[in-house]
């Protein structure tokens, strides 16, 4: 039905979209599973990251427009994880919050969603974030035990309760730990990526080189003090626990492959060029120009646009983690940009080969023509612009926290470049995050 004149007029009276700005970020150092945060819950870690942000920007007692965060491995008691974390933080208790979940894209989606609200004039300020703990992961009871317990709790007599509980068998008592396998294929993310790695013929050497660069660049950033205003120590952890300063191509080459062992092609994916299980939390402060000015905060970057994508990995059409390879070309086309227009490209390192298969797809004439509908290859990313301060291979990957880590890091870098070249042409960053379920989320940031 076409809109009536009145409806069209009502739409036109809303405030025009305005800029949504990244004002800062704070995370806790990421720790290896079973490490410094082994006894900390998702709520503990998210609250710690929030409080660090509050302290950094003097937001004690302040009502923020909205806080959005999430966790991928989430306990059912955490149905209001973000709101509970806000209530436990030093933000004003009148700060609204909501939970969000989009697998490993959760953190980036909180940034995109809140930035859109700011652009629409619904919010003046917001905090985006994410947290995950693989050490304190929720353990559920088996389906049969759960059903028996629920039936017993609904029973109206002791006899009915006993009858319900009598159905429980010893094997039903085994706990159900969260599985990282794709529910529809039964393959782990690593096994899925091993198929994609083989399909694109990515070498072990290329993967190890990317992993080494990630560690070297993250170490250099820590050493240069780059993270001093982005990270707050927690539970004795002062730097990312997964960072290996002493790693080398020789050490990485000595590791035994862990994924793709059953394939016809040589297995190339190891613990060294795959992201380890990690605990951690990250937050990003967002706001409008007027809110930033009123709070005397220097904007770092603007959130320009975002594009989500998904692939049919269930029927083997594309690799599980290849959605960004399709989403980025759409995003750039909509904004009239090419890969050459980006000073920084951040591709989440779920595995080294995830980055490399994405780049290989963009460099492939055939993929460009047949899958992207272009005249040829989509383009090439200059390695010097890729993940300049390291990424998940070195920092670790607490699933929902990764988006916040990337956005805060690259926004600070964008601002630094802007300060170094004032008044020049736009300085842009591309952010790409793959996720379980064949999902991908991508975004454009621009130096403010």
């Amino acid at each position: 039905m076409p809109p009536t004149a009145r409806q069209a007029a009502a739409r036109a009276t809303g405030p025009a979209p305005r800029r949504a700005l990244v004002l800062g970020g704070n995370r806790i150092p990421f720790a290896r599973a079973g490490g410094a945060y082994a006894r900390s819950s998702n709520q503990d870690m998210l609250t710690a990251a929030l409080d660090g942000l509050v302290a950094r920007y003097g937001l004690q007692g302040e009502t923020i427009g909205e806080v959005a965060a999430g966790a991928v491995l989430k306990h059912s008691r955490d149905f209001n994880l973000t709101r509970e974390s806000v209530l436990g933080s030093s933000l004003a208790p009148t700060t609204p919050a909501f939970d969000l979940q989009q697998a490993c894209a959760t953190g980036l989606e909180t940034v995109v969603s809140l930035a859109n609200k700011i652009r629409l004039g619904q919010l003046e300020s917001a905090i985006a974030g994410g947290v995950d703990s693989t050490s304190d992961a929720p353990v559920a009871v088996s389906d049969r035990l759960r059903r028996a317990l629920l039936e017993a709790s609904r029973a109206r007599s002791a006899g009915a309760r006993l009858a319900a509980l009598a159905k429980v068998r010893p094997r039903d008592l085994a706990p159900a730990t969260p599985r990282t396998d794709e529910p529809r294929t039964g393959l782990s993310m690593g096994e899925h990526q091993a198929l994609t790695t083989a399909q694109w013929g990515i070498s072990r050497e290329a993967q190890d080189e990317l992993a080494l660069a990630s560690h070297q660049r993250l170490a250099a950033a820590w050493d240069a003090g780059f993270f001093d205003d982005l990270v707050t120590p927690y539970r004795g952890q002062t730097q990312d626990g997964n960072l290996r300063r002493d790693t080398s191509l020789e050490k990485l080459a000595a590791l035994r492959p862990t994924f793709g062992l059953a394939l016809d092609t040589p297995a190339t994916m190891t613990a060294g060029n795959s992201t380890p299980l990690t605990d951690g939390a990250a937050t990003v402060l967002l706001g409008s120009e007027s809110w930033a000015a009123a709070h005397d905060v220097t904007p770092l970057a603007a959130v320009v646009d975002a594009e989500a994508g998904a692939v049919d990995f269930v029927h083997g059409v594309d690799g599980l983690l290849m959605a960004p390879a399709f989403a980025v070309p759409r995003l750039l086309a909509r904004n009239g940009l090419t890969l050459d227009d980006f000073a920084y490209v951040e591709i989440h390192e779920a595995f080294a080969s995830t980055v490399l298969t994405t780049l290989a797809a963009w460099e492939s004439e055939q993929f460009g023509r047949e899958r992207l509908g272009l005249d040829g290859a989509f383009g090439k990313v200059d390695p010097a612009r890729l993940n300049v301060h390291g990424s998940s291979l070195a920092a670790g990957h607490p699933f929902a926290a990764t988006g916040g880590r990337i956005v805060a890091t690259v926004s600070k870098e964008l601002h630094r470049a802007r300060v170094a070249a004032p008044g020049g042409p736009p300085i842009r960053a591309l952010v790409s995050v793959c996720a379980a379920g064949g999902l991908g989320l991508t975004a454009i940031l621009e130096a403010a």
Partner: protein, 311 residues
């Protein structure tokens, strides 16, 4: 059993239609089936089975699916728990009727020990949880096979208007049972098949040791080779084996909603999946619809292959 009605000419041929008041209980039929094993021992010793299929079709009207059992089936094989009956669930619903045909006196081979070698289902439209179905089952296509004797069990499901919604043909092979009056093996499509080459997998199933018992609970098919490793040993398998229709139903579920409401779903069963098992799987689009394969990830030998194609 009540009065016979004349044949209606929808694939029944001259068969007598015997209307049953309800779908029979499988437990009793298995007792009859095991009794069949005893008589067949005699038959095998003599090296022959009876020469013809019973000329009977069983019918039950007003059959409705049970919501709890449907949900359990859908959860087990990986279907969404919608109110549409998965094509494999209609098979399960009508299975006791097919077993009743196979345990009718004079059926040429015993139920227990017969191997399900192929299955073809044509779904004309989705059957719904809340609609009464008329189910019919009969046998056809008795023929010699290199390894024994083969017959097809036909099941149809029709709606209240008499419109056919579902047709299933299950091919069973009785190894070592030979028909004296039908010498020489008939055409065997299995032997013309090109050798199986394991494709790139799209997934891998984790079938636990009690998968046979879980599928038995939702399907009613408590054939001992699926629920007990001891019984399976008696039939020459080192461990209990997965129900063929469990694995075929999982493949259909992996195709998902893309098959649409009307389709033909085939399965050819090669080696059974020993339990517990973690076979490799490929479910992917091909020229017309979907093709699937399930195979042993280590040896590369096939468990089953099939297609799901639009009608």
């Amino acid at each position: 059993m009540t009065a016979a009605v004349p044949p209606t000419g929808d694939g029944l041929g001259d068969r007598r239609v015997v209307t049953l008041p309800a779908v029979p209980a499988l437990g009793g039929l298995y007792v009859k089936g095991l009794a069949g094993v005893a008589t067949s021992v005699v038959g095998r010793r003599l090296g022959r089975g009876s020469g013809a299929l019973p000329d009977v079709a069983y019918e039950v009207a007003g059959v409705r699916a049970d919501a709890a059992r449907l949900t359990a089936y859908q959860h087990l094989v990986g279907e969404s728990a919608s109110d549409a009956l998965p094509a494999g669930f209609v098979h399960v619903l009508a299975f006791p009727l097919a077993v009743a045909v196979m345990t009718t006196p004079g059926f040429p081979f015993p139920l227990v020990g017969a191997v399900h070698v192929a299955n073809r289902v044509e779904q004309h439209r989705e059957a719904r949880l809340d609609e009464p179905l008329t189910l019919r089952a009969w046998s056809q296509g008795l023929r010699s096979h290199r390894a024994g004797t083969q017959a097809e069990l036909v099941v149809t499901a029709s709606d209240a208007d008499g419109e056919r919604v579902w047709t299933g043909v299950s091919t069973y092979l009785a190894k070592g049972v030979h028909l004296t009056d039908r010498p020489g093996p008939a055409d065997d499509p299995a032997e013309e098949r090109t050798p199986f080459v394991a494709p790139v997998p799209t997934g891998r199933w984790q079938l636990p040791a009690d998968e046979g018992r879980l599928y038995a609970a939702v399907s009613g098919d408590r054939n001992p080779i699926h629920v007990s490793s001891l019984a399976a040993k008696g039939f020459g398998f080192p461990r209990a084996i997965a129900h063929g229709m469990d694995t075929a139903a999982r493949a259909l579920a992996a195709v998902g909603a893309a098959h649409g409401p009307a389709f033909v779903w085939t399965a050819e069963f090669a080696r059974p999946v020993l339990l517990p098992g973690s076979p490799a799987v490929r479910v992917a689009r091909d020229v017309d619809g979907f093709a699937y394969a399930v195979w042993d990830a280590r040896s590369g030998k096939p468990h089953l292959t099939g297609t799901v194609r639009p009608v």
